[in-house]
């Protein structure tokens, strides 16, 4: 285990053991086999020196900054900072010192200098309504900025559910006409890291993978790294045994809830949500929604906001009686219309009746 990065680390007082421990944990979080932790440590240790770090440009669109908050509050900032040390974050509005024309200049310089090589990170959705006027930076609509920045990018990371799937801005009735990155950009590799917000270690995991193996991690059909989104919350949930035994909390304060039983009937979307919360957890591994007694909202799935209510069990329909009264009215009207037609036909047949005589029995 040798290389510029580990040397840098050593100078900062980070031992090889510390680094190995970090990599073992990262591999565990990425659901890689324990042996991969060593490979990762070996590879990252050899990451290039500061002069040739890959450039990362981070553009915020229609978003709430929750994703940035999440990333900057990752549980081992010093170590994760190390990973960021392996890259060059050339533009991040929230974090960068520069502002105004200075910032714009930095962005343009970075794009020009690293053309075809930089990693573009997007958080937030792209509003298409009113020609994109709902969200502009420096007089440019998000759509324009995205197209411009995407042109020279090696790959794009769509950070958070808004960038990945449209997220809350896209929720019905979607007033701004919000769309996801992949709705706009079709010719670049896109990695979706959905979640509201996404788990910070996913971002570092993706970067670590990029640095370790020189490639993007394997993605699922929704463009998400399989390592983190390969299984449902439900599959990895520590409450899963109770589900299998049919033990469900019925309210948030009943005996079942106190016993830590399955929250399925309280609307948990764990069975249909792919994310790593159950294993990676939140706030430095302290807890996660289901562990704190609340069902999963399904925030890493497309259109989770409109998936029929957070507290409705998955087996419950959304609102099937929505059109029932209209349907009843239409049915009744149709029925009455047919009745009139039928009655007309019947009385026509009756009035056309010719009394049968004996002769009429034969053809």
């Amino acid at each position: 285990m040798q290389g510029p990065l580990i040397d840098t680390l050593a100078r900062q007082g980070v031992t090889r053991r510390t680094f190995m421990k970090y990599c073992a944990t990262l591999a565990s979080m990425m659901a890689l086999p324990p042996a991969a932790g060593r490979a990762m440590a070996e590879a990252m240790a050899a990451a290039p020196a500061a002069t040739k770090r890959p450039s990362v440009i981070w553009l915020p669109f229609q978003e709430c900054t929750g994703c940035t908050e999440s990333i900057t509050r990752s549980h081992s900032p010093s170590l994760e900072g190390l990973i960021f040390d392996a890259i060059s974050l050339d533009y991040q509005e929230t974090l960068m010192a520069a502002a105004g024309h200075q910032a714009e200049e930095a962005l343009h310089n970075a794009m020009k200098e690293n053309e075809g090589k930089y990693l573009l990170v997007i958080d937030g959705s792209i509003p298409l309504g009113l020609d994109g006027a709902y969200s502009c930076i420096g007089g440019k609509s998000n759509l324009e900025s995205l197209k411009e920045a995407a042109k020279g990018a090696a790959a794009i990371v769509a950070m958070g559910s808004c960038a990945a799937f449209g997220g809350i801005p896209k929720a019905n009735p979607n007033p701004t006409g919000a769309v996801s990155v992949s709705d706009i950009i079709k010719d670049k590799p896109i990695i979706n890291i959905p979640g509201c917000p996404p788990i910070p270690v996913v971002m570092t995991g993706v970067l670590a993978h990029f640095l370790t193996f020189g490639s993007l991690p394997e993605l699922d059909s929704k463009g998400r790294p399989k390592a983190f989104y390969g299984e449902t919350i439900h599959d990895r949930c520590y409450r899963r045994p109770f589900y299998d035994q049919g033990k469900f909390a019925k309210t948030f304060d009943d005996e079942g809830a106190r016993n830590g039983w399955c929250l399925f009937e309280l609307g948990c979307k764990g069975p249909v949500t792919y994310n790593a919360c159950a294993t990676v957890k939140w706030n430095g591994g302290t807890s996660w929604p289901v562990e704190s007694g609340h069902g999963c909202l399904g925030c890493s799935e497309p259109d989770f906001w409109d998936a029929g209510g957070f507290y409705k069990a998955l087996s419950m329909p959304a609102d099937p009686l929505k059109f029932a009264s209209t349907a009843a009215a239409v049915g009744a009207v149709a029925g009455v219309a047919i009745s009139f037609a039928n009655r007309g036909k019947k009385s026509a047949a009756k009035s056309a009746h010719e009394t049968t005589t004996l002769a009429d029995l034969e053809k």
Binding site: P271, D306, L314, S315, A318, V330, G331, G335, I338
Partner: protein, 219 residues
């Protein structure tokens, strides 16, 4: 479409469509059928205790003398799968929860193990009556595409529901979505196939009871 979107669709838009078609179809068909009316019976009536429309609505649930022996599979199989369906549909706790969510009405359910058993027995009875339909010359002769189709429509929701509960073959999400989808198909086709007898059986029994009751005949 992934399984989550599939589930969201079947329990959202899909169910909206199915319930709407069902409600629309039932009303349309009921009007279509019963608005044809009938002539008043001018013959002097004869009254006999038990000869009325309402009496027959209930009495026809019991086989007439000698018939059980002539067609035991139809009767026993028919009883089992109709009662089984009623248990599975109306006494399974999640189904009651569903009705409660929609209407506020609730009633006690049965233990899920019992409902589980009822589902298995119901499916077994349905398979038996299906074989009877294939085997018996009369049933085979009368059978049309509609008969095979409606059998499938009725069988699938029971099968998929049972498989979802038992976690068989497909993940719960997908199986649950398939279960809801098959129920939707059932709802959509019910008003327009022989399955509509679920509604008209009461009208038919009432009419025969009424028409014959006018003559003082207990049918």
């Amino acid at each position: 479409m992934n399984d989550m979107q599939f589930l969201t669709w079947v329990r959202g838009t899909g169910l909206d469509i199915a319930v709407s078609i069902f409600v629309l179809g039932v009303l349309w068909r009921l009007f279509e059928i019963y608005s044809l009316g009938r002539k008043p019976d001018l013959a002097a009536p004869r009254s006999t205790p038990g000869a009325s429309g309402w009496n027959t609505v209930f009495r026809r649930s019991v086989p007439p003398p000698g018939m059980m022996k002539r067609s035991p599979v139809s009767y026993i199989g028919g009883y089992i799968f109709h009662i089984g369906l009623a248990i599975v549909v109306f006494l399974f706790a999640p189904h009651i929860l569903l009705v409660e969510n929609l209407t506020g009405l609730s009633w006690p359910g049965l233990p899920s193990q019992f409902v589980d058993l009822a589902a298995v027995v119901t499916m077994a009875a349905m398979v038996v009556v299906l074989f009877d339909r294939i085997n018996k010359p009369v049933k085979r002769y009368l059978s049309t595409f509609g008969d095979w189709f409606t059998w499938t429509l009725t069988f699938l929701p029971v099968l998929t529901g049972w498989m979802a509960v038992q976690h068989l073959v497909l993940p719960y999400t997908t199986m649950l979505a398939l279960h809801i989808l098959t129920v939707e198909l059932l709802l959509i086709f019910l008003p327009f196939t022989k399955l509509f007898h679920a509604f008209t059986v009461f009208g038919s029994r009432w009419y025969i009871g009424k028409i014959n009751g006018h003559k003082g005949v207990v049918v």
